[in-house]
């Protein structure tokens, strides 16, 4: 057995959508892979693994981050919100999810979780909104299917309603 690189492992504990979860991770494992493969939270998707497409966006201590650019160990002790935490335990959709459905703001659904988390952070700021601001805020999440229009419409409606 030659050429074995020394790889450290570490126990990583996070509060994922309000539930404390722990699992072992190689220190080089990304937060995205940790969420998906160790914790089974596969709603967070990987589109590029270099921080550009935004599909992997989750909230860490309330702030949006690219989980593909973070190591799992860096998130130890943090509060993580993923798409799985948006709906109620009984399966009631979050207002953001409902607005997306109403406006046909998703087609294949692959980029959608990243958008939802980005939008959650944005709405929490009680923004002024307006199409230009909304588009700018969404410009860090890439979508190949929708052309963004219906996503902008859904988010604009949420802003106007002062959601959530």
């Amino acid at each position: 057995m030659s050429g074995v690189p020394v790889i450290d492992r570490s126990l990583v504990t996070i509060r994922a959508n309000g539930v404390t979860l722990s699992a072992e991770a190689d220190v080089r494992m990304t937060l995205a892979d940790f969420l998906r493969d160790r914790l089974g939270l596969t709603g967070t998707h990987l589109g590029c693994e270099h921080g550009v497409c935004g599909s992997c966006t989750v909230l860490l201590d309330g702030r949006s981050v690219r989980s593909c650019l973070m190591l799992a160990v860096q998130a130890d002790g943090a509060d993580i919100e993923t798409v799985e935490g948006l709906a109620t335990p009984e399966g009631g959709l979050h207002p953001i999810q409902e607005a997306f459905a109403r406006h046909h703001a998703l087609q294949c659904g692959f980029c959608t979780p990243g958008f939802l988390m980005t939008v959650k952070e944005y709405l929490a700021e009680k923004p002024a909104g307006g199409e230009a601001e909304v588009r700018e805020r969404l410009s860090g999440n890439l979508c190949r299917c929708t052309g963004y229009q219906n996503i902008v419409a859904a988010v604009s409606e949420l802003v106007e309603e002062g959601q959530p």
Binding site: R63, V65, R66, L69, V73, Y122, E136, R137, S139, G140
Partner: protein, 239 residues
């Protein structure tokens, strides 16, 4: 090596007109600081186009300076603000002015075993104006050419000028010739245009996948002129 858990490094402080940013000060923290933004809108302009919120939530000012990508916003801002960098290492603490911090392509004055622990700058005085203009392929992308500008007008003469360039060389650059040419001049459109033309002489862009050096020079001149005009407008507004 991950310093994210080292306490006491994430500060964004204002002591009078002096702004001090710790090693873990995130772009987003600076962006949301209204005190800084109101006195130095150049920073607000720049933060709005530095990647996207998710990047700004984690990325740090110090990290950007240490990485020293010539197309990044903070290295140019540091030059335009005459910022100082504090380096801490086993052999002690030292301070380097921004102008000496960037030494080559993605190479800084940080020595082996040293860490950039603080960047500080003085807020431009009331009556000055600042602006940041860049051209990028998409919102939030790296700049193909950009200018960070600070101007002050005393009476009807330009009394202070800083023109820092990004994306136009192997390091962030100051268009010193253009700056000197502005001092003492009346702030007319002609003068600004001529300064932008002079600024081209400081530019050393290279070809890349997105644009030729020639294009970058052309656009470099345009962004300098536009940033100067915007900064001047803010000077006049704050008087």
């Amino acid at each position: 090596m991950d310093i994210n858990r080292v306490g006491g490094l994430g500060y964004v402080l204002r002591e009078g007109d002096l702004v001090r940013l710790g090693a873990l000060a995130r772009h987003r923290d600076v962006e949301l600081d209204e005190g800084i933004g109101s006195r130095c809108p150049m920073i607000t302009d720049a933060m709005a186009v530095l990647g996207h919120v998710a990047i700004r939530n984690r990325g740090t000012v110090a990290g950007s300076l240490a990485h020293a990508d010539p197309s990044a916003e903070w290295p140019a801002l540091a030059l335009a603000l005459d910022a100082e960098c504090t380096l801490m290492g086993a052999s002690g603490v030292r301070t380097i002015p921004a102008g000496q911090f960037f030494q080559g392509f993605m190479t800084t004055a940080i020595g082996p075993g040293e860490m950039l622990t603080e960047m500080r700058f003085g807020l431009p005085p009331p009556g000055s104006g600042s602006a940041f203009v860049e051209v990028a392929r998409r919102h939030g992308d790296f700049a193909q050419a950009g200018a960070a500008v600070v101007l002050a007008v005393d009476g009807d003469e330009i009394s202070h000028a800083r023109i820092a360039l990004l994306g136009l060389g192997g390091t962030p650059l100051r268009a010193i010739g253009a700056e000197e040419g502005l001092i003492g001049e009346r702030p007319t459109e002609e003068v600004l245009r001529s300064a932008a033309g002079l600024a081209v002489e400081s530019m050393q862009p290279v070809d890349d996948v997105h644009a030729s050096a020639g294009y970058k020079r052309q656009v470099g001149m345009v962004v300098v002129r536009r940033a100067l005009a915007a900064a001047l407008g803010r000077c006049q507004a704050s008087q």
